[in-house]
């Protein structure tokens, strides 16, 4: 028996050794220097969410979140293609970022207090304001989430969605049966097969997933939005330079939209007399150098992927297949809440 206990202890010990040594590689080091040295940005992406981050048949990634990865790569290298994507399921994403497997996580991730404070991560920006909703089959005749008493609901595990769902049904004194899956793919497939009455995720995700349904028009999105989901890029805590770079990437993309700097006109705009544009594009001041890049970082970025509005329209806006309205994500002076701190 003692032999057995000894071998048990040994096995557990070796496991711990592995875990302990694994954690060493995650020690905070200058991410920017590391990325420059590698020659590419390793970006944590969704396993496949149309409009936000999805690879095509040739393995080319596209989407709103993916373009944020490309914008950062363009700011650093002047080339938006110098990105490698790591598709991550919701439940694996934070471990991948913590362990240094990816440099930045841009994967429709909700910013919450516990994620910010206990995971050793920072969320420098919010690139998409969202909220959780429900999708059901039209033929059920359900018009409101409050009528979902007794329904079975498919959701992805390891998400804020899973927690909001529990809160909402408990708060409204409704019963439900949850069926949780590891990836969005498995979750939606189960709903589409008829395992669940309703499918829940962020509203943006609902529109995106509906495109994958065998008959998209048979499904409707219910009007209730049951939570606040500020989605944004995540970085490891303890590397302020890298967090600054990610934060100002987002701000610069917003400012570019605000002042009409687009992919097409950015070269002419460099010669603009507007001091705001001059500071953005590096004609005045040395703001790029303060985040470890060169003066013209924002020029490279806009040239690579366009401004915030262009990224939005191309991937998820009214011109795309998803047809999502700007809503909360319009600039503050156009009725939304996207408000960038100024470059000065």
């Amino acid at each position: 028996m003692s032999k057995r206990i000894a071998s048990l202890a040994l096995a557990m010990g070796l496991g711990l050794v592995g875990a302990g040594l694994g954690a060493t590689t995650a020690s905070a080091q200058a991410t920017l220097a590391n990325v420059k040295q590698k020659g590419f940005l390793q970006c944590g992406a969704n396993t496949g969410l149309a409009g936000f981050g999805v690879p095509d048949a040739q393995g080319n990634w596209s989407g709103f979140d993916v373009d944020y990865c490309r914008a950062i790569a363009a700011a650093i290298f002047g080339d938006p293609t110098k990105v490698r994507f790591t598709p991550l399921a919701a439940k694996d994403r934070f471990t991948a970022l913590q362990s240094g497997e990816v440099d930045v996580l841009i994967r429709n991730t909700t910013v919450t207090m516990s994620r910010d404070t206990t995971l050793g991560l920072d969320f420098p920006a919010v690139n998409y304001y969202d909220g959780q909703g429900f999708m059901v089959r039209k033929k059920l005749g359900v018009a409101s989430a409050k009528e979902l008493n007794g329904a079975s609901i498919c959701t992805q595990q390891g998400t804020t969605t899973e927690l909001n769902l529990a809160d909402y049904f408990r708060g409204n004194n409704l019963k439900y049966e949850v069926v949780a899956f590891a990836t969005s793919d498995e979750t939606f497939k189960a709903y589409d097969t008829g395992r669940c009455d309703a499918f829940t995720t962020d509203a943006s995700g609902l529109y995106s997933e509906r495109l994958r349904a065998s008959a998209p028009d048979d499904h409707i999105v219910l009007p209730e939005i049951i939570s606040k989901e500020p989605l944004g890029p995540g970085v490891r805590q303890g590397d302020p330079q890298w967090a600054d770079l990610v934060r100002w990437t987002h701000n610069a993309l917003l400012i570019a939209e605000e002042f009409g700097v687009t992919k097409a006109n950015v070269d002419q705009m460099v010669k603009s007399d507007n001091p705001e544009i001059k500071r953005l594009l590096g004609a005045e001041g040395s703001y790029g150098e303060s985040i470890g890049l060169t003066k013209d970082w924002a020029v490279r970025m806009v040239k690579g992927v366009g401004n915030y509005g262009e990224i939005f329209e191309r991937n998820i806006g009214e011109g795309s297949r998803l047809k999502i309205k700007r809503g909360l994500n319009a600039l503050w002076n156009k009725g939304g809440i996207q408000f960038a701190a100024p470059i000065r």
């Binding site: 057995r4 048990l8 040994l10 096995a11 557990m12 010990g13 496991g15 711990l16 050794v17 592995g18 875990a19 302990g20 040594l21 954690a23 060493t24 995650a26 020690s27 905070a28 919701a90 439940k91 934070f94 471990t95 913590q98 516990s114 994620r115 206990t118 995971l119 050793g120 009528e147 979902l148 008493n149 007794g150 329904a151 079975s152 595990q157 390891g158 998400t159 899973e162 927690l163 769902l165 529990a166 809160d167 049904f169 408990r170 439900y176 049966e177 949850v178 069926v179 949780a180 899956f181 590891a182 498995e186 189960a190 097969t193 008829g194 395992r195 009455d197 490891r236 805590q237 303890g238």
Partner: protein, 399 residues
Amino acid sequence: MSTIARAPEPAKASLVNDPKVRGLVYQAVLVVVVVGLVWAAATNAVENLRAAKIASGFAFLNSTSGFDIGQTLIPYSATSTYGRAFLVGLLNTLLVAAIGVVLATLLGFVLGVARLSSNWIVARVATVYVEVVRNLPLLLQLLFWYIAVLRSLPEPRASVNPGLGVFLNNRGLFVPKPIVEGHAWIVFAAVVIGIVASIAYATAASRKQTRTGEQSPVLLVALGLVIGVPALLWIVLAVVAGNPIDFDMPIKGTFNLRGGLQIFPELVALTLGLVIYTAAFIAEIVRAGILAVSKGQTEAAHALGLRSGPTLRLVVIPQAMRVIIPPLTSQYLNLTKNSSLAVVIGYPDLVQVFMGTVLNQTGQAIECVAITMAVYLTVSIATASLMNAYNSRMALIER
């Protein structure tokens, strides 16, 4: 004898050359190295976690989980703790492992014997089953069963109802749930007494047979004691004092059936997949075990006048068991560990609940992984110990 002088004692060898001392030193060094490595890794991990500002420790087990789980064998809600969620996951894993082991053993034995059948069709069917099933990846089979089960079943509003309050749809199988009340304990007590009495009767019958060669109707008597008497009592109670066991019948609700006992399709698909896969391996083990018993044993039994049924049951299988049990143990362990593939079909087992949701909501990867590893190790060692004990009982006692 004692008159023979003892050989002079050999000169004392130096301690360095004493194999016993050397062995002890080596073992001590190994222990120190292992303990040192573990300690270094543990402190290193804790240090790194603190440096990276990642929470650590096991306090999270007492905080509120905030999420729901579909299938729970014990009361659980979003206000329960992570520790409770862990228990729910663990019980779900044990449930599927227990059902799986029993069914896989039964199916495996039938198939193993069938492969050796003299009936050409039976033997071929068993061979094809084994070769097809054990050569396809389990993950694929699980997905197949899950999707096959779901797609082939009707939606809730068109549930299949074979009567007796049983409903079948793509949300699972609904059966009446017994509600025990009043004098029901009398019925249960009768079942327990019946089981005890049956065992006593079987023991006595076996002694009688050894002594006199007379056989007794053990099966009939046991059935009567375990099922007949309690059923009779139930009827009497129902007439005298009202039905002691009530049934909560499933009834149609807005979306699905309400009430009753619901067996989720995830559980069905996972059990089906594990049983069918593991049974193929058990069949091969059983076949090997039976073939390991020399043909002379069968011939001798036939010569004594035993028919082929009793020959298999009384002569071949008991000897084959000695060969079968050790590899069978491995299959039981495999089945238990393979149940963690539940993740892909949404069955809330330990890995799905604890390594999936809890790990992600708390971010405490090292703790969650360590606990899960410890659980599988414990379950596996417990299973192996039980099987080893059984094995030593069955082993040939050599004189």
